[in-house]
Every structure is written in C-alpha cells, then in structure tokens.
Amino acid sequence: MSLLEVSGISVTFDGFRAINNLSFSIGPAELRAIIGPNGAGKTTFMDIVTGKTRPDEGRVLWGEKSVNLLKLNEAQIARAGIGRKFQRPTVFEDQSVAENLMMALKAARSPWKVLFWRPTRAHHFRVEALAREVGLGDQLDRKSGELSHGQKQWLEIGMLLAQEPRLLLVDEPAAGMTLAEREQTTALLVELAKSHAVVVVEHDMDFVRRLDCRVTVLHEGSVLAEGSLDHVTSNRQVIEVYLGR
Amino acid sequence: MRRLFLALAAGMILALPALPVAAQQAPAPTQTTTPTAPISRPTSGLAAVLAENAAAIAKPSRQTIGPVIAAIGAAGPGAPEFLEAWADRRVGQRADGRFVLLAPAPEGYALSDPATGQALGTAPKSEITELKPNSGVRGLIASALVEFQLNDPDPAKRRAALDALARNGGPEHIAPLRAAIETEPDAAIRAAKERLEGLLTIRHGSDPARRIAAIEGFGSDLGLDLRGALNPLLATTRRAFAGAPEGNIAAELTPGRGDFDAEAAYALLVAQDMAPARLTRAALRAALEAHIVEGKVGGIPVAELDDPARRDAAYAALETAGLVPPAATDDEVAAAVVAHRYADLYAEPDAAVTDAARAALHGIETTVGAMQVADLALDALSLGSIYFLAAIGLAITFGVMRVINMAHGEFITMGAYTGYVVQTWISDYTISILVALPLAFAVTFGAGVAMERLVIRHLYKRPLETLLATFGISIALQQIFKNVFGTQARPLTSPGWLDGALMLNDVVSISYIRIAIFVLALIFLGIFLWIMTRTRLGLEVRAVTQNPSMAASMGINPDRINMLTFGLGSGIAGIAGVAIGLFAKVTSELGSDHIVQSFMTVVVGGVGNIWGTLAGATLIGSLQKGIEWLNPSNTLAAQTYMILFIIFFIQFRPRGIIALKGRAAGD
C-alpha cells in the first residue's frame, strides 16, 4: 500500500527530455532519499508531484482513494496533504516569524473563512511550540527577512510542519547549515518518517548516509537504481554516472 | 520592356491618322426599313438636301420625317449642328425659303448658313418663320444625332457620345447604337459600344429573349454600371391583395414570419386603403381631451384616465354615443390581417428577365464578395503595418529588456513633431521627409538613452515601478508638447507622389501612402532581423536577454547593451511617429491614441520575438478591420469588441501567439 504512486511520467522542455518514463512510489510512513547528479530531474520530479509542472504522459495517484493529482492545482495538492520545502529558503520576508508560521498552520484555506479567522490561544501556543522546535522560539516577532540563511531554512521547515502534511518533499534541507544543525535536521526527519512519508532530495552523501533509508538514484530523468545506500553505491552504473566522464 | 513600349508607341502613331479616314470611307450597309437608318450615300451637300426636302422640314410630321432626318444626317459637314439647332428650335426659314440657323440678336436674330456656318447678317423676327418641331419629331432628331455622334470620325467625340448615353440613354438609343457597332473601327470603342448596347438592352429593351441574352452575356462582370442596370429590375414593392397576388412575384409574405409582422401587414392595408387606420395613442388622447364633459369622458372621471384600459373604455363609450369615428379594434385588425395575402412584386413584369437578372446579380455578388475580402485583407494589412511600426520599438524594449515603456507613445509623438518642425524649415516635402526620418530617429534615440540612463536603469527587475515612472514621464512630455506646440493639430504633409491610390478594379484599391507604410514596416522588419542576427550588437543583445550575468562575465557590458537597445527601440518609435503623422493628425495625443493598441500587439504576439509582434499586428489589424466590416457604422464598437476579444484571447494563450517555452519561460 503506497501513499504516492507515480508511474510512467515523462516531460519534455523544448525537446529536452527532463523526465523519461519515471516511476516511483512511497508508503505512508517511509523515509526516502533521492540522489542524482545535476540535471537528473530531481527538482522537476518534485515540480510534477506538487503540480507546478504538468507531465506529458503518465499518472500520479495519491492516497487511499487514488486521487489523480494531475487534475489538481498546486493549492489543491498542498491541501490534499503534500508539503514542500524549496531548495532556496522561501519565506515571506516582509512578515514576522509568527505570521509566517500562522499562515502555514493547518486550517481552512478559503478566502471567506480566512477573512473571519482569528487565532485562538491554542493557535498561539502551537505557533510558539513550532518556533521552539525549529530553534526560533525567541525570534517570533522578528521579520523573517532579517533571519540568517540557516534560520530561514529552519523557519521553512517549521512552516512545513505547521501544515501537517502526510507527505513531505524536502529539497536539500542541509544546504547552508552547520554540522550540528545538520544532525538536528537528520533527527527531525527520521522522527517525522515514523508517522509521515518523507522524500529528501540531497547531494550530500554523508547526510544521506545518516538518514539511513532507502535511496532512489535518478539519472537523465529516470530511475537508475533503488535500494539501500550501500546497495546503490556498489551499482556499477551509479558509479559510472557519479564518477565517470 | 522598352521594346514593347516602342512597338506600342509606333502602333499608336500609325493608327491615329488612319482612324477618321476609315470612319469616313467605310461604306455603311444599306438599310431603309427603319426610318432612323442612315442613308447610304449623300446625294450632295447639306444645302442640297435641305432644299430638296424644304417642305417636309418646314412642316414635319412624325410619320414621314424619318427618311428626311436620315438624309440630313448623312449630308456631311454642318449636319449635326443643323439637327441640334432644329431640335432646339433654333432653325428658321427665311422668306426666300432658305433655312438659316438663328441666334438671338438685339434687333431680332443673327442668321448663319447651316451648311457653311457663314454669317448671313441679321433679320427682324417678323421676317423669319421659326421651325417648331413637335416632341415626336424632336425625339427622332435626337436619335439621329446620337447616331451621328456615334459615327463621328473623331474617336473622342464617339467616346463622349457613349458617356452621355451611359448616363441617360433611353429605349430610342438602342437601335442607333446597335447600328453603330458594326462600323466601329476602334476595338476599344467597339467594345465600349457593345457593352453599352447590352446595358441599354437590359434596361430598356423590348424583346425579353434579347434582354436575357444580354444579361447572360455579361457573366459575372464586376462593373458598377452593370449592377446599376440590374438592380432596378429587381426593385420590389410590397403589396397586399384581397385574393391571390398578381404580377411578377418576388416572394409571398406571411405575417409574423421574418421581419414582416402583423403590425406591418396592417400598416400596408391601411396604406392601400383596404382597412381603416388604427387609433394611435396620441389620437386617442386628443379624441378624449376633445370630449371632456364636466370632468368626465364617456362617463369615466378624468383622474382615472392614466390607465390605458380606462382610456379604451372611455373611447368605446364615445364610440357608442356616436361622438367619435369607430376605430379598428384589435380583433378587427387581426381578422383583416388574416383575410389578406401579401407579396413583394417586381416592377419588371417579365419573370424570365427578373430570374436571369437575379441569377446574374447573385453571381456578381459572389465575385464582389471575394473582391471585398481581398480589399479588406489589404486594409487589414496596412493597418497591421501601422500597428507593427508603432509596436516594434515597444517589442524591443519590452521583449528584450522586460521594461514596459509607457512613454513610448510620447516618443511616437516626438517623432511626428520632429517631422513637422523639419517641414517648417524645408519646404520640399520629399526632401523634408527624407531628412525627417533620420532626424526623428536621432531625436528619439537621444531621448530614449537619456531616459534609460536617468530613470529606467535604477528600476530594472521592478517592472511595475518602471511602468509607473515611465507613465510619469509620459504625462510630463505630453503636457510639454501641448505647451510648446499648442493643442491644435499640426500638419505633416506627405509628398505629392504619395497621393492617390492604386486601383486594381472597381472594388479593390489601396492608397499609395499605405503601401509606403507597408514597405516601411517591411524595411524595419529586415533591419531588425539584420541587427539581431548579423551584427555584434545583436549577438550581445541576445546574450544579455538570455543570461545577463553570464553575458557580463563574457566581457559584454550589459549597461551599454541596455542603453543601446532602449535607444534603438525609442528611435524606431520616432520613425513610426513620422509615418503615422503622415496620415493621422499630429497632436500631443497622437502617441497615446496608439499606445494601447501597441501594447495589445506586443502582448498578443508574445514577448521577445519579432515574428510574434508581426503576427500580433496582423491579427489585431485584421480583427479590427473584420469587426468594422461586420458593423461598419460604428468604429468605437469595433474597438470595444476587439479589446474584449484580446482579453479573451489572453485566456487561452497567456504568453501570446509565439510564446517562449520551457523552464526559462516560467520564471
């Protein structure tokens, strides 16, 4: 039983085949790392799952009811329970940490309901708890634009958690983080994967090794190998792709 | 080419003197059956003929005068003048029996000899018997005159006669015209004669078979004269009939179908006195007001008469009292409408002729429709090239630099005013335009570069702020133009050789100035493509467009490229201003009148691609012309619908006709 089932998707940009007959699936409580060289199609894959890019062919099915994600737009996909953290931290820089987290907090999303929505005490507690969890407990009133690069990364992870998604797509979470922060991130992701599906896209092999999970290797838009890190790193083709040429 | 021309000229020189000779010497066929037919050979001069037939001329009768007129007509020099004068009652008979031409003189008449034109002194009125031919005779004379003119040795006179006949030819002219065809030596005039004969036959002919043959002989000729001859045949009048419709029925009508409703049917009955008129609201009101008695009409208080039903009741009461004439009730109207039949009747009684005319007109309309489409396409093309000229500079700045320049319209105006100023210095229009074009480019190039340096450079990547800042410049410039040049339109005159239009046939034509603008647009397309694909500047511009930081690291100075690009776009706007100023009024609002269309062109065409701008301009030009064609009375509505279409179009192609694809386009 898988939470997300991607089968046979392909997408072409101006004749360049970014994704080529790619299939992928992940269960409801699983941690998965996706690795691959530049241009392997990692980000495009995430774009397709989150609705930013439409594939030319293939299917993307979601959840127990096998909802066709290709029929939904980005916002609907996000509401269905897929959260995404971008490669470059993207937070709302003109707004405070608390506002950023409050916006991400799981609640009704329609304009009317949001217009009359006012935070209760419980919501404030939840925001404070989240901020503490990502190490921004004392920064709630600061504008997020003033935060350091790493703090923005953490804020974005906090926003991802606030959404309470069932599937987390995390693009290079460790970029720009200190060693200690990386370990903290690893722990957080491993902990999350006990109840959520987590897909981590990462370049850094050490980081992936610490995650200790199944690894999918992408190359030229399709899956080259899949299995434990040791398994894939011993794969001849993978070695060729990473080290060859 | 040159040899052909020489041969043509030689042929003309040879033909010219030959023509009158041929006309004189060609023996006319002997025909004495019809009184108007020419006599084969003059017995002698005009004087002899006149003397021979003196009695008949002095007291002409319609039955017998025919051969005499024919004889005079064939009598040689002086005959046409004599016939003309005779018909105009300017011929008199002297006491000695000699016929003289009369002209008013103080002491009676000035006389002259009909044959020689020699003056014969004056004579008091009492000594002259004026000839007064009746209208029948005058008609015969006129026909003979026509025949004479149609056979005149001078081709110009023959043509003039044909033109006169084309304007007001009648049934009596058909026979002389037919007779004059055979003897015609000039092929072109002969064709014209044959054509006119056909037209006259269609209009006035008496033999249906011949008329139908004439109609069919034209095929689907496009001439306005043919349509002018055919259309009256198909004119209809609408009539109501108590029984079955009679006459040449174009269509029988049923009330309530099409635009012929019961109301119109009844109006027709009233117009033909077949039914009494209905009571209008105004008449009802007047009748009621005329019969107010003690605040009541027909027993109903005046205060209640704001209700139409009460008014009807009051009128009915007056009617029963016999105070007002009875008016048709609704039931009577309905019954009368049902009891009659209605039809459109042709004025022409012969059904075979109207059928042939309808078929011919249908064929003509199809051809005319196709020609109109072609004409419309030409119009659309020229409008499209104006939009293209206005938009190309915008496309460069918007497409290449992502800068929206709201002052682009003012740059166009600036170009037009430059042209105006140059014309105040140089009076020769051709030279002044040739000077104005590069000067306008230079002026607006400078203005563009200045604007880029001072304002736009600081706002890169802030498109909305650029839009607003350039708008500020736009209002300032527009007001400065107003202050300097005033609010009234300034003339920018095109050279004489651009006046007039190229006529392809009666339907399709295009003015030379529009051709010139089309050519100018093509030249700009060429120059732009040349700069972008063949020059170093174009290469650098493309590099900066695609990846500014990479281009910078390759040693290209993006600042300089942006400045030059912006200057180029602005300079083209200036040249477009001169071109647009040639046919539009040069006012301070010239540019802003074109700016929205220019934006639309760029947006519809797709950003960053010159072919897109071309496609957008063509699309918008054709659209505007097409909508104007569908609704010719209202150009404002055409623009409204065009903009609505564009808003709708953007739904389906948000990035324009020719859109950039791929990852780069999305971000």
């Binding site: 935070p119 | 007001e289 800042a469 929205v596 409204t640």
Partner: protein, 409 residues
C-alpha cells in the same frame, strides 16, 4: 468585529478621530450650518476628495497589499457613478415632466416613460428608453446595481484574468484594456447611457427641491466621511488578520502561497471584486457632488492617476493612500484652478495651469526613484524606522513585491 478592536489598533482610532474632527470643522465653517468661512463649492471639493480617498484605499488594497497594479479601478468608480446617476437623472426628469405636463388628461405610465425618455435621450437622437434603464425608476434597485454591476464585471474579468494566471505588467495592461473597452463602449450613442454627453444635473437630488445646494453639499460631505470611515475600518479588518498575511504573501511570492495550500486565484479574485465594489461606492458618492459624469472620466489615464496618488502617499499603508489621494487631488485642484501664482523666470513665465502636469509627472518619477514610501515615509522617519539592508533586493520574486526601500526593519 470583536470588542476592543479600536483599542487594539490605535492607528485606526486616530484616523477616525482626525476624520471626525475634519468633518465637524468643515460643517461648522460651512455656509449652511456654520460661519460661512468655507464656500459651498469648497465643501463639494472636500466631499469629493473624501470619496477619492476611499477609492485610494481600494487601490492600496489591490496594489499595495496584493501586488496587483490594476489600471482599471476608475472604471468601477465611474460605473458606480453611472448607476446612481441613472436614478438621479430619471427621477429628476420625471419630476420635471410631471410638473410641466400639458393636456387635460393625466398621463399613462407609458406616456410618462416616453416623455422622460424623450427628455433624457433627445440629445442622442432617440426617444426610446434603453433596456439598461429598466430599474432607473427605483432608488433601491439602482443602489443595488451600484454594487452589483461593478462587482459582477470585476468578478467576471478577474475570473478570466486570474484563472489564466496573467500576472505583473501583463495584468496591468489587460486591466487598462478593459478600462479602454468600457470607456469606448460608453462613448457610443447607442450604449444607452447618452454617449459622450454622459449624465448631467446629478447635483439636484429628486424629492429634495426644498434643500439648497449649500446644505446638500454638507450632507454629502457627511455621507462621504462616513463611507470613508467605514471603508477604512473594513480595509483595516481585511489586512490585519491572516487574510492580510496571505495577500501580502501573494504580493511578495505568490508561488509560495500556492504551495501552502491557498488558492491564490480565489484570493486575488476576492480582493479585486471587493475593491471594485468599494470603488463603485466611492463613485456613487462622488458624482452627485460633481454633478456630471461622462465616459472621459473612465478613460485609462484616470486609473493611472489613481496609482500615482497611492504611490505618492505611500503604498502598503492605508493612511498613506488616503494622504496621497487627498494631497495630490487638492494640490492639483489648486494648481489647475488658476489659483497658484505664476512663476516668472525672467525669460519665461511659468503658468501653473499649463505646467502642473509636468511638475506632477516629474515628481512622480522622483518619488518612484528616490522615495518609494511616499509621504507616509515621513511618519516612519519620525518614528526612527529604517528600511532593512538587503543590498537592493526586493522582498520577494513577485512583480508587485515590496522594494527594499519600502520595507521596514
């Protein structure tokens, strides 16, 4: 609204206070109710200015907060004016027709309507009442249309524009095109709204013949002040909560908002329609004070001027929009009214009637370049607030996102 809302938002309270004091002061100085220090035409100008402040608030909501540079809000303003103008003109003409009726019989409804139609439409050569005037006889219906017509137009246009994800300058040009289409349509004689003659005589309120213009002008001032106050409260309510967070998020980075699960299109549509309705209400209050409306008022340039006011006042702050609209429109009236003294330069005398537009245009460029915060920036300067140091980077990738200099640390 929760109790204590005003207490929690002192800026709203002080705004309402200033507005109330202003209204009271003008009333006490008016010819009708006070010392007569302020002429009736000045009261009208001030009343009109208040309605312009209201539409500036709408513009600030859509541009300053949501990042959509709409160049079409004056179209909604004009439509609101037309809707209320139809009733004013129809009812007023009916009064005139009834009072000057000739003939012995009372008029039937049809005759009355024909007479009114002849009066109103004689100028465009028709005597038929167009279908769009079906409700012109009823004030409540026409007031409902003030909200409905611009609201529906904005909704339909926005639905098309936002669903196809037209953004940035494209959207601005599209709104400009919509405005142009509307004004061209209204310029036609057969649009049913009297073509370029527009609607006139709107300053005469039917049924209030006994009330002079001096009193009416003060009443309209009160109505405009009330509308502005309520509009300010509404706008503040909209931008203060999570909704405000979301729309500011859309302004700075709409893709990110989408990935949080908010359907950006619906939010834009909501704000676009809401602000169109606010603009229409402002227009419905403006034109009875102006007395005349014609299609030229709807031309795209008016909407661009609206953006100028908001930019000069300071976008992204509600009070900035109000200050900008009031300042620019009043100064503009002063300069173009011929009251500003000429400036002799020796070789040339600057007549401000001719040169005011140049000054406005150039100062607008300067504000955009050097003071994006506009007049409201002075308030920040007084409070010692500074923009963040971001090396020139704006606060988000969106076209409408705040500039570095517009933001606060």
């Amino acid at each position: 609204m929760k109790p204590g809302f005003l207490a929690k938002n002192p800026s709203v309270l002080s705004f309402l206070l200033v507005l109330a004091i202003f209204t009271l002061a003008v009333t006490l100085m008016s010819e009708a109710y006070g010392a007569g220090l302020v002429s009736t035409s000045m009261v009208k100008t001030l009343g009109k200015t208040l309605t312009l402040c209201l539409i500036a608030i709408a513009m600030d909501l859509i541009w300053g907060y949501t990042g959509i540079l709409s160049l079409g809000h004056f179209a909604f303003f004009g439509l609101g004016g037309y809707m209320v103008g139809m009733w004013l003109m129809y009812a007023r003409t009916r009064e005139i027709v009834v009072s000057s009726a000739a003939g012995a019989l009372p008029m039937t409804p049809q005759e009355l309507q024909d007479a009114i139609a002849t009066q109103i439409f004689g100028v465009v050569g028709t005597s038929e009442l167009p279908a769009v005037w079906a409700f012109a006889g009823s004030l409540p219906a026409q007031l409902a249309l003030v909200v409905l017509v611009p609201g529906v137009l904005a909704f339909v246009f926005g639905w098309f524009a936002f669903k196809s994800r037209v953004t940035g300058v494209y959207l601005s040009i599209l709104t400009q095109a919509m405005t142009l289409a509307l004004s061209l349509y209204l310029f036609q004689n057969d649009s049913g709204l009297r073509g370029n003659n527009g609607l006139s005589g709107l300053q005469n309120i039917p049924g209030l013949d006994g009330v002079g213009q001096d009193a009416l002008s003060v009443w309209f001032l009160w109505a405009s002040a009330l509308a502005l106050g309520l509009g300010y409260l509404l706008a503040h309510f909209v931008v203060s909560g999570k909704f405000g967070s979301v729309i500011r998020g859309i302004r700075d980075d709409e893709a990110r908002v989408r990935f949080l699960g908010y359907s950006v299109e619906n939010y834009k549509l909501f704000v676009f329609t809401l602000t169109a309705i606010i603009a229409a209400i402002a227009g419905a209050l403006y034109y009875p004070q102006a007395g005349i409306i014609n299609p030229a008022e709807i031309a795209p340039i008016a909407s661009i001027y609206l953006a100028v006011w908001v930019a000069i006042g300071g976008r992204g702050r509600l009070y900035g929009a109000v200050i900008g609209a009031a300042f620019v429109s009043l100064v503009s009236t002063w300069f173009t009214g011929g009251r500003a003294p000429d400036l002799p330069l020796g070789f040339y005398t600057i007549k401000w009637v001719d040169w005011w537009s140049v000054l406005l245009g150039l100062s607008f460029v300067l504000v955009t370049l050097f003071a994006p915060k506009g007049i409201a920036g002075i308030a920040d300067w007084l409070q010692g607030l500074r923009p963040p140091r971001r090396g020139g980077a704006p606060l988000g990738p969106g076209d409408g996102s705040l500039q570095e200099k517009e933001a606060l640390e």
